[in-house]
Point group: C2
Chain length 298, copies 2
């Protein structure tokens, strides 16, 4: 146990705390930090050692793991608190979902300060974080892979190496842009089917084994019934909240602009989810957008 | 063999002929008809009996099966040639992909003329028609199911009963609207991934086992490499031609208008595929739209 790396773990929120707990249970020594007192207290109650400042979380650790709401938070923490506090060659493992350009900027800052860097955004939500079944999309140097994998495998069941710095964020933003498009498409298909007199189950039976098949239908089906575990069966409690989809599609829009890519469906999906989230549905599962489509309010 | 129903088979084109050949091989007596002499000749060469008029194809048969390019053709044939020529209670089995409203109109006409009706549009393309592995989406009365299934199972491997008159067309239009949306979304995701420096295989590995998973990626992947059987590996030879996707999305647009459904992604996908097909890509596999997205010409 004593040769396990020591982890500075910053960001003990809905996602970060269960991830930290899984590392703690696996025998890692953590230095936990969060700006929210309740998050700190919850970590302490789970037996995790916490520290009072971001600097303390970076001092004398082997890995600095961040799980923050946005790239702005990450860059600010790196520049003001973390990079200069960490010992040389510390691994900065950035697990937040942030802008690809900001992720690459964070990696450059870390390397310039004499550290190592990797981005490893996750998918799988709070349920996956608690179960240790997250998927990590990893942007990392080959020589760091073994060390990173040994750590992440306690928090997730799938680690996909996507390339160098920023590649994890890039893969996630592409996947989630497609997911947002698929879900709106699935919702439109089911609403059209209703109006044409089709039963939900009949349309599900066709789509699920035909060319329209997609995760948005077969795992997170936007109508109740065909997939008992989908949020539609519990009045669209998330699951994956519309606010998070709106955030991810905002990152997609940013990436499209940076790369001057004309992705018309992606751009439209981003504006529809922004509107849906802003009009009182931020905490609704993202599949709940079917209700706004049915009502014609988007 | 002698108790098999006799089939009037109208429409011996790229889809119809291989379907007719499969029925012929299964021992059915056919009366084949097409307006195109080359199609008639090809049917004759396959050993299928042909007749000279649409009326002849409907006289003294048990089933009138139509495989036409559009609903206009179907309604015209029903009204002018077929309904009055067939003996009472003939089963009119409409396998073309047509407008839902026209499919219901055709069913009403058939029933009013003392016949039975069912719609059974197919998916699976020419390859599926030749292999006898089509999927049929069936709108039919319960009491006709056994008879219809016994016939269709020689041409397809999957028959989904979607409901009453028109339900087969309804399910197909919903599925294919979602397919068109998914494919554009998949193409946009891969183009964005390229610009963000991701290898195709890396992005495929993420999407195929994550929430962006869809048939458009895992079976008909719009970039060459990850899925060897996808048309992208043979310079986007169809497969499923862009002109057919544009046609199906035109049917979707019609259904959206009839039902006053506001499906913004479906409507946008329809206009993008119409433009792509009209600008010299009608015969390209529908996944080839990725090239227009990459070039920014849509």
């Amino acid at each position: 146990m004593s040769d396990k790396p020591v982890i500075g773990f910053l960001g003990l929120g809905h996602m970060g705390l269960p991830m930290a707990i899984n590392l703690h249970r696996a025998g890692y020594k953590l230095k936990g930090f969060d700006v929210v007192p309740a998050a700190v207290q919850a970590a302490q109650e789970a037996g995790i050692e916490t520290v009072d400042t971001q600097e303390d979380a970076a001092v004398d650790v082997d890995v600095v793991l961040t799980m923050f709401p946005s790239g702005k938070h990450v860059l600010e923490a790196y520049e003001k608190h973390l990079l200069q506090s960490a010992k040389p060659n510390t691994l900065f493992l950035e697990c937040s979902t942030i802008d690809v350009a900001q992720a690459r900027q964070a990696a450059e800052l870390a390397v310039a300060a004499g550290h190592r860097s990797a981005d490893a955004p996750v998918s799988g939500g709070v349920v996956g974080a608690e179960a240790g079944s997250l998927t990590f999309m990893l942007g990392a140097q080959d020589e760091d892979l073994a060390e990173i994998t040994a750590l992440l495998e306690h928090m997730g069941k799938r680690i996909v190496h996507c390339g160098g710095y920023g590649a994890g964020q890039a893969a996630k933003v592409c996947n989630n842009m497609l997911l947002g498009i698929s879900m709106i498409g699935a919702a439109e298909a089911f609403v059209l089917g209703e109006r044409l007199g089709l039963e939900h189950q009949a349309l599900y039976d066709v789509i699920s084994s035909a060319s329209g098949q997609c995760w948005a239908v077969t795992t997170n089906c936007p109508v109740p019934g065909p997939v008992p575990t989908s949020p539609a069966n519990r009045e669209y409690q998330p699951g994956f909240a519309a606010a998070l989809m709106a955030k991810d599609l905002g990152l997609a829009t940013s990436a499209l602009e940076h790369t001057t890519t004309d992705a018309q469906l992606g751009a439209l999906a981003a504006s529809l989810y922004r509107k849906f989230s802003d009009e009182g549905n931020a905490g609704t599962d993202f599949s709940g957008i079917i209700n706004a489509i049915r009502e014609g309010t988007l």
